[in-house]
């Protein structure tokens, strides 16, 4: 199973009340946002490929908490959660999903292709594995500039088989680049389970021959993610080079909206939902510790619902891009010399 049994999670909790509540809020925002996106897709308001992050919320939420101003994030096409965690505007994300001018890419990118220079989010990439060398390049730029920023390159278990990942690993280690590779191992690459696609299924070991340290993490536990993330980010930031975190996680929905997900049993999904859900897990810890009551959390839930509703309304009210947008942004029109 992807995650450790509950009983093993007896380590003392190393997070403040404020942190735990903030994590709760963040994960819930992603969950509700994605549920809404799924709904809008069903209504035909969102089209094409739409990959939901439901179930994996603890990974980006925990990792984002380890970053400081100027650190960069890059990922693949399952990117909505990463953008929300980076602080990108939910209205802009949702309006991009609906292909409107208010979207973060002015409607030209869609679900898989959003970016924010301001929030240091570098996409949003549709080609499996491509973000790994790109994220390594972000780290190269940090080292080149001599700053102490770190980049996070997220990718899936399936992406971990692409050759360019290993070309990037080699350079990152050779040149001690400040990059943390976050493998989101949700046990499936589309319909292919890790056992069927990977000769070494313990993906954190994939850096061994490049001398990159790696670690397996319970990606359904936001506090465990944060703890491992801090260690990895510290390692990269201090000039020791790259680090690999293999997040054991799970996606509840199909690969994309068009995936019937017949390759796994309903019970498998139900088991993880009811025993390892990252939001429910944190919620019970919060309540056990007396950090908040059910009612307090309900209030947060309502606030989140309002934010998501506003994003959905905005995404439907925002007009389609003007036809003239077709021709813009192909190249930067600037005379040189």
């Amino acid at each position: 199973m992807a995650t450790k049994p509950k009983s093993a999670k007896k380590a003392p909790i190393k997070a403040t009340k404020a942190e735990m509540l903030a994590f709760y809020r963040e994960m819930l925002l992603i969950r509700r946002f994605e549920e809404k996106a799924g709904q809008l897709y069903g209504m035909g308001k969102i089209a094409g490929f739409c990959h939901l992050y439901i179930g994996q919320e603890a990974v980006v939420t925990g990792m984002q908490a380890c970053l400081k101003e100027g650190d960069q994030v890059i990922t693949g096409y399952r990117d909505h959660g990463h953008m929300l965690a980076c602080g990108m505007d939910p209205n802009g994300v949702m309006a991009e999903l609906t292909g409107r001018i208010g979207g973060l890419s002015r409607g030209k990118g869609g679900s898989m292709h959003m970016f924010s220079k301001e929030k240091n989010f570098y996409g949003g990439h549709g080609i499996v594995g491509a973000q790994v060398p790109l994220g390594t390049g972000l780290a190269f730029a940090n080292k080149y500039r001599g700053n102490d920023n770190v980049s996070l390159a997220y990718f899936g278990d399936g992406a971990a088989n692409q050759g360019q990942v290993y070309e990037a690993f080699n350079m990152a280690s050779l040149w001690k680049l400040p990059v943390v590779y976050v493998i989101e191992n949700n046990m499936y690459a589309m319909g292919t389970s890790v056992e069927r696609h990977a000769s070494e299924t313990e993906l954190y070991k994939r850096g061994i021959s490049f001398e990159i340290e790696g670690e397996e993490v319970d990606g359904m536990d936001v506090l465990a993610v944060r703890e491992a993330g801090e260690k990895a980010v510290k390692h990269a930031r201090s000039g020791k080079g790259p680090y690999i975190l293999e997040m054991k996680t799970y996606r509840y929905r199909g690969h994309s909206m068009s995936d019937p997900a017949k390759y796994r049993k309903r019970e498998e999904v139900d088991d993880i939902r009811s025993h390892h859900d990252p939001i429910e897990g944190l919620k019970s810890q919060i309540i056990e510790l007396g950090h908040a009551t059910e009612d307090d959390l309900k209030k947060i839930d309502n606030e989140i619902k309002a934010i998501v509703k506003e994003a959905a309304d905005f995404s439907l009210e925002s007009p389609e891009p003007d036809a003239s947008e077709l021709w813009t942004d192909v190249l930067i029109e600037e005379a040189v010399g």
């Binding site: 292909g99 292709h113 992406a159 589309m190 069927r196 389609e320 891009p321 077709l326």
Partner: protein, 470 residues
């Protein structure tokens, strides 16, 4: 016998270099492998190793000489026991022409050229691909409406039954039954030895397929879409397409690379590219892009049997469309033959893949306006059946080239140029091209619609070439 030591080319681009230093002097004994000199190229300082043994009889190009041409004689090696003083360069001309320090002889060498006969050998004419006719169907043949998806599936299944060497490989082709269900039920019939799920490693499995083809198997490599074949294009072109030629005809590569190509629906720029023109440019490949189910089936079967690498471009938006497929055993459509899908007299509409459907719709509407359009489905892009196009243009005197991809350097450009070159006198108007707008494909519904070509664009183009004709 003395041996000339020549200025070596130390990089594929090097044409000349500086002989910076001699590490041996005249009279020194030389053993093969000895470093005898240093040379500076545009990129680096390199050492020159002796190949032959003997005594360095004469240094022809002194150290410090710049712009020494590749293959100029730089020294002469006397064989052991030979009279060193008598050793002389065997090719004095080359020596002089090579060493720029000897300015006069350079001039001499240059002047000599025009007096010679044209030294460039004549390129023999490129043989034309033989054009085969579609097999005529026996009288009374029945047809079954079949989707393009199932026609492709049937083609693979039939060839796999026939030939044990044929296997299918790709992402989600087996247990998932194909991302677009084109390989549906193949796993059940042929098992996982012949229907192979791969990891997401396009460059790797494309290369592996090429290797297996070299070894005599007949792989069908499915790309989930051709957008992802960009990860693998090096193996397709450098390994699959060029090896027969590079091996002097020994090493054939019977492989099919297939999958959906071009736009899907609202999947954005990275998932929507038409690669027709890319692959069609490559000698050593055959490139097929069918429209209807019968051609999809007959051409895929032909592709699997072809001893060459074939790029087989399908279209996701056609997979679900049904067309009549003849109920005959072993239905094969010859590669390299276009089909006239509708006869007409006023304008020729040339298209391939999904654009054929739009061209047929356009022809229908043009007929209502009194314009009779002939629709040609290219079916194969390489080798391109220009005869059928030219024959049609000689009748209609007007040409519209339709493709889903970008115009620039595109399929339409090739066809228009060929028609202009070979049927100029028959043209009554300049050919017009219909194509995608010159931008990456946008996601927004309205922009996507503006970007992709459709039947309206073809109607408009046809009207334009027919302007003033009636």
């Amino acid at each position: 016998m003395s041996v000339d030591i020549l200025m070596p080319a130390l990089s594929p681009t090097m044409e000349e270099g500086t002989l910076s230093k001699w590490l041996k002097k005249e009279g020194d004994a030389i053993r093969s492998g000895d470093v005898i000199a240093e040379i500076e190229t545009d990129k680096a300082t390199m050492e020159v190793e002796a190949v032959d043994e003997g005594v360095l009889a004469k240094i022809v190009v002194p150290e410090g000489t710049e712009n020494v041409k590749v293959n100029a004689v730089i020294a002469v090696l006397a064989a052991d026991g030979e009279d060193v003083t008598k050793a002389a360069p065997s090719r004095p001309k080359a020596d002089k022409a090579g060493a720029v320090s000897d300015a006069d002889s350079v001039k001499e060498a240059k002047q000599a050229v025009p007096e010679q006969e044209d030294p460039k050998p004549k390129t023999p004419e490129q043989p034309r691909a033989a054009v085969v006719k579609d097999p005529s169907l026996p009288e009374g043949t029945t047809f079954t409406d079949t989707t393009v998806r199932d026609a492709l599936r049937d083609a693979m299944a039939e060839e796999m039954r026939k030939d044990e060497r044929v296997f299918v490989m790709g992402e989600e082709v087996a247990q998932y039954q194909g991302a677009y269900k084109v390989t549906r039920e193949l796993l059940q019939e042929f098992g996982d030895r012949r229907v192979v799920d791969t990891p997401i490693t396009e460059h790797g499995f494309a290369g592996l397929g090429v290797g297996a083809a070299f070894a005599g198997l007949r792989p069908i490599v499915e790309f989930m879409t051709f957008n992802f074949a960009m990860q693998a294009i090096d193996q397709i072109i450098n390994s699959a397409a060029k090896t027969l030629y590079m091996s002097g005809g020994q090493m054939g590569c019977p492989i099919v690379f297939r999958g959906p190509n071009g736009a899907a629906s609202r999947v954005g720029a990275q998932h929507s590219q038409d690669y027709s023109a890319w692959y069609a440019q490559i000698p050593g490949l055959k490139v097929i892009a069918p429209y209807d189910a019968a051609d999809a089936k007959g051409l895929l079967k032909a592709a699997i049997r072809d001893p060459n690498p074939v790029v087989f471009l399908e279209h996701e938006l056609l997979y679900g469309q049904s067309f009549p497929v003849p109920d005959v055993d072993d239905y094969i459509v010859p590669i390299g033959k276009a089909a006239v899908k509708r006869e007409g007299t006023d304008v020729t509409l040339v298209a391939h893949s999904r654009m054929v459907g739009f061209a047929l719709q356009a022809a229908e509407r043009l007929a209502e306006e009194g314009i009779s359009a002939e629709v040609i489905d290219l079916r194969t892009l390489r080798p391109l059946d220009t005869d059928t196009v030219i024959e049609s243009v000689k009748k209609t005197n007007r040409l519209v080239c339709c493709e889903e991809g970008w115009r620039f350097m595109g399929v339409g450009a090739e066809i228009a140029a060929t028609v202009v070159a070979e049927a100029f006198d028959w043209l009554d108007a300049p050919p017009v091209r219909v194509h995608q707008k010159d931008v990456p494909l946008p996601y927004a519904a309205n922009l996507e619609a503006l970007s992709l070509p459709n039947a309206d664009d073809i109607v408009e183009a046809a009207r334009k070439v027919c302007e003033g004709a009636f």
